[in-house]
Amino acid sequence: MVTVLFYTLAAITLATTVLCLTRNNPVHAVLYLVQALFALALLYFMLGAPLLAAWQVILYAGAIMVLFLFVIMLFEPPVADKRTSGRLTHWFFPVMLGGLLLACGGALIAMDPAAKASLSSYWLTPRDYGRALFERYALAVEIISLILLFAAVGAFHLGRRYRSTTKEDVS
């Protein structure tokens, strides 16, 4: 059962990623990518890393993709394609993939109703996760966080409004 679920989820991930790459409409591409991230999160959960699954959804689907969507929304108005909007093929794939994803989620819960027993042999608790990050890979984490800090400072510098273009001068 677990094997079946694994392959189904893996197939969904692949299919949605391919669909994401081939869409013309950027917002649709983002939606497919979010679906792929979801399937990936369910895979993580199934493999015994619930914390990683949660981070996957919160950070990737909830923050990064939202920022992508933000930029796309600013630049791309929706293009209603009259030719395909009513056609079966237009909605068959998303509906099928979404339904399959929901079914997999339901199956995961049904196999493990009280979320007590783990499906996999190894169950990564938040404690283990923290230990690994801040003890074993502490140096790497520090370096990455420093790089991110530089990036943030750099972005702030680039986005800074210069004296010469303050409000008074513009008006």
Binding site: V34, P50, L69, M73, A80, S85, P113, A115, P126
Partner: protein, 330 residues
């Protein structure tokens, strides 16, 4: 196998009960909000349908169901239809992990009053609240309308910003109770609710959930005097109703989040635990309505500046202080 079947049946029963309660509570929350706001402005509020207007939610539901469901001609049809479903779905799914009462003992079986006690329940809630952005953003984008687009953009920016403050306010609670599981967090507040232990986190959390649910001091996404109705300008009929119900379900979800994390969950003297939980949720909801009746709307730049320049640094500072205190106490 029998045991598993029984567990599944129990889950289904709990699911039905919780869904029914939450949806009817959300419907009556609309009525309560209209009534309380009206009384604060010395009006009567809805009082035509049934005694004291108690059947008003039903009348609203029938009206919304019977209305024509318009889809703008140039809208992206499927995204347009998907958006309200995301909005209401994320709000309803959040209830799966919220413990609403002390464990019950029936026929020698311990039934925990929570649908699914995930050990990362808090993160699950957080993930769903960050996904709720999609409903709003996609609804705003797919409508092909300037007002809806601007409303969606604002809602996105606001929700992402305040989610950060929300997360930072949760961290001290998790640090003190040493668990992501909501039942464990409730259990850790048996003697003293977290609101008294972490007053600053409590304050930040209250403000952040108000912004997260897009309610009045922070209701920029649907500021009616500049954006008509924001992201749901183009929606009508039951699709609008779904956005609307989603908003109130979200209010209940955030109210129960506040109850679980800071107000001691279902702990309380004399009354049964579920009763205490309901009382606390209703008190939080009344507070939200009260704030809506009192505080004027912020300007958009003030809103963002408040989130990023005040709430986030305060939240970080609070985490630091809590960490130092926890270390010092050992």
């Amino acid at each position: 196998m029998n045991d598993v079947l029984l567990t599944i049946i129990l889950i289904v029963i709990k699911l039905g009960l919780v869904l029914g309660t939450v949806l009817s509570l959300a419907a009556y929350m609309v009525l309560a909000e209209r009534k309380v706001l009206a009384r604060m402005q010395m009006r009567h509020g809805p009082n035509r349908v049934g005694p004291f207007g108690l059947l008003q939610p039903l009348a609203d539901l029938i009206k919304l169901l019977c209305k024509e469901d318009l889809i703008p001609e140039r809208a992206d049809r499927w995204v347009f239809m998907l958006a309200p479903a995301i909005s209401v779905g994320t709000a309803l799914l959040a209830f799966a992990v919220i413990p609403f009462g002390a464990p019950l003992q029936i026929f020698g079986r311990t039934i925990e009053l929570v649908i699914c006690d995930l050990n990362i329940g808090l993160l699950y809630l957080f993930a769903l609240s960050s996904l709720a952005v999609y409903g709003v953003a996609l609804g705003g984008w797919a409508s092909q309308s300037k007002f809806a687009l601007l409303g969606g953009l604002r809602a996105m920016a606001q929700m992402i910003s305040y989610e950060l403050a929300l997360g930072l306010a949760i961290v001290p609670v998790v640090m003190a109770s040493k668990s992501f599981s909501l039942t464990a967090i409730v259990a850790s507040q048996q003697s003293l609710p977290n609101a008294l232990r972490h007053p600053l986190a409590f304050l930040i959390f209250v403000i952040a959930i108000m912004a997260e649910s897009k309610r009045t001091p922070f209701d920029m996404p649907e500021a009616e005097n500049e954006l008509v109705a924001g992201y749901h300008t183009e929606y009508s009929g039951m699709r609008f109703g779904m956005f609307f119900v989603g908003e109130y379900v979200n209010l209940i979800v955030l109210g129960s989040m506040l109850t679980v994390l800071f107000l001691g969950g279902w702990h309380g003297p004399f009354l049964p635990s579920v009763g205490w939980f309901l009382i606390k949720i209703l008190a939080v909801a009344f507070f939200f309505i009260w704030v809506r009746g009192t505080v004027p709307r912020l300007r958009y730049d003030q809103l963002m500046a408040f989130g990023w320049k005040i709430l986030v640094p305060l939240g970080l500072l609070n985490i630091l202080v809590t960490a130092v205190w926890l270390l010092w106490r050992g």
